[in-house]
Symmetry: C2
Subunit: 345 residues, 2 copies
DNA sequence: CTGAAAGCGCTAACAG
DNA sequence: CTGTTAGCGCTTTCAG
């Protein structure tokens, strides 16, 4: 609505337009230092009239302060990650900090590249999924000089802070619950992702939990790609044809679990009498299914919020020791309708 | 592994460490201009040894080039938006450009704030959902001097470029298809979001399409919050109790449609004989349901990709006129199992 | 309360 | 092929 050339306006333009020094304009725009109400208003008005938008690039360089928080996650296709991102976003809502997202596709090399790019913006903090990273990645994090929060998993040693749940424990607890309900012939279905360490740990915890009672998984299957719900259907059908004696199916996520559930309902199979089921994540989706799939909440939003909070605390001048640097959240087991609470007659 | 103080390393440090001018180091690190293979390697090595990460803040200020693309979307909770984001991400994958996400929660004031913040980073382009913006937002976009792509909707005038589908037409087409299949008593269920202009336009197009044949919606209901799948169940039950004569239910999105579908299957109702159903979006989830819900693809990933492509083209020195600045994608109607193809006996 | 001077760390534009 | 000189647009710091 103003200038005719393409050059973005500078502080200088505003300064000229209202006869106040650049410095004063800067102060007004940042609410720093005392400025008389009169000039203050004048500056604000002309800035708005001109449509001036400050240049954070220059501002950040000068102040050596960048209000960006790098958030590095493996994927955007799995609802889990947008959900933690949402948690981060919420917590940062009314602060000057702003999240910047990087996606690694579960690839360590890509994680390295993405982190490097992010760090080159000199953000105020890094939130990164998982505890497993390449040496180079870990070195960059350690030497970055900024707060780092590793999230979603607590089975391992963090570079700096960490917030998440123990997937190993989650698997173990689920095994315990299943055995306690009297199931004995257990099948497992999950994603074929050697680089999804959390799924791996859950699986390990699960087999470990069973092993303690002398039980072993009797069948297992892994998939990759495609609609998880559809895969759940297919794989469940195949597994039950292959291993008709199974009385419990543990799915590494709720989506394939839901697919399995829908398939079994279709088949008129008695759940949880004939076959019990459980998934993982506690996705909202499950609320609408005909039967509630047993699951375990992964605390996605809470993790995002807690991680953002840690960054915020360190950005403020809070003594570092006052901050909980390791937060282990405890996922709640929801029995739903597919993991019975009493032994069958 | 290197310095003992907290100050991030600068070009200067690398320059000192390997006895080459800062300028040469800079050139090596950016692959610009000719540098002898020998010095090149030496610089690269010391940079890696020191763990030097360039400072893009300074670089961008000096070069007046910022390889960031602002992506402004209403929400991260609705899978639709992570999906377009994914499309953007993919297209930008092997380019220097990097997306930065802002979330508006469907609030015009927040959109304004978010855009202002984004523009203050002087990004190379803006991708923003929707065509409806406040005057201030539109002014900022128009005066930004960078490529702007408005996405997801084409029913209106863009500030600059636009890529999307016509939701009005999508609604109309669906109405036409439903009538053609012989349904006559139609109910509608959707979200209670006055600010979701795309849903609104779909609804308007739908009623318009029906009106042309002298048909009116006989019942309607709107929800907000909660699990869409669960809401679909509830609302469908309520609506059918209220209006038992309905023979078709049009849902404003696939999730509530899926909820309705599952409910009706539960009830043993004949689909699409007794009641037909349709949703909107073409979400992958539908693949795993017992029956395929009729739907219309919203072309999410394609939209993200096309938008990113437009930004890329303008960033390169391609003459502006060579670029398709308006792309209307055509959503395909998938009949699935819930919109019969022939009149009933 | 307001202004002037001196960079922030890098790159464009020239020299060699 | 390599180096030097000026800034980029802002904020810090120090004087009024």
């Amino acid at each position: 609505m103003t200038s005719t050339d393409k050059r973005p306006l500078t502080l200088r333009d505003v300064s000229d337009a209202c006869g106040v020094s650049e410095m004063t304009v800067s102060r007004v725009l940042r609410n720093r230092g005392d400025v008389s109400a009169a000039t203050r208003e004048r500056v604000l008005n002309t800035a708005k009239e001109l449509g001036y938008v400050p240049n954070q690039i220059a501002g950040s360089l000068a102040s050596k302060r960048v209000n960006l928080v790098a958030v590095i996650i493996p994927s955007l296709s799995n609802m889990v990650f947008p959900e933690v991102l949402n948690g981060v976003n919420q917590m940062l809502e009314d602060t000057p900090l702003q999240p910047v997202v990087g996606v690694t596709d579960y690839l360590p090399e890509k994680e390295e590249r993405v982190l490097y790019e992010m760090l080159s913006w000199r953000p105020s903090g890094v939130i990164i999924a998982g505890l497993e990273h390449s040496d180079a990645t870990r070195a960059m994090l350690a030497n970055s000089g900024i707060p780092v929060v590793e999230i979603m998993d607590v089975d391992g040693r963090p570079v700096d802070a960490m917030v998440g749940i123990s997937h190993r424990r989650a698997g173990r607890e689920m095994a315990k619950a299943i055995l306690k309900e009297g199931y004995e012939h257990i099948g497992f279905m999950g994603t074929k992702m050697p680089l999804d360490h959390r799924a791996r740990k859950r699986f390990e915890g699960f087999t470990e939990g069973l092993a303690k009672a002398g039980v072993e998984i009797e069948d297992r299957d892994f998939y990759s790609g495609g609609s998880a719900l559809a895969k759940g259907r297919e794989m469940t059908q195949e597994m039950l044809e292959r291993s008709p004696d199974l009385d419990f199916l543990y799915y590494s996520n709720d989506m394939i679990g839901a697919g399995g559930l829908l398939y079994l309902i279709d088949q008129g199979i008695d759940i949880p009498g004939q076959i019990g089921l459980a998934g993982f994540n506690g996705v909202e989706l499950l609320q609408g299914l005909p039967r509630q799939l047993a699951t375990m909440d992964a605390c996605r939003a809470e993790i995002g919020q807690a991680a953002a909070q840690i960054i915020l605390n360190q950005t403020a001048d809070v003594p570092r020791d006052d901050i909980a640097h390791q937060q282990t959240l405890t996922p709640k087991l929801a029995f739903g309708d597919t993991l019975r609470r009493h032994r069958r007659g």
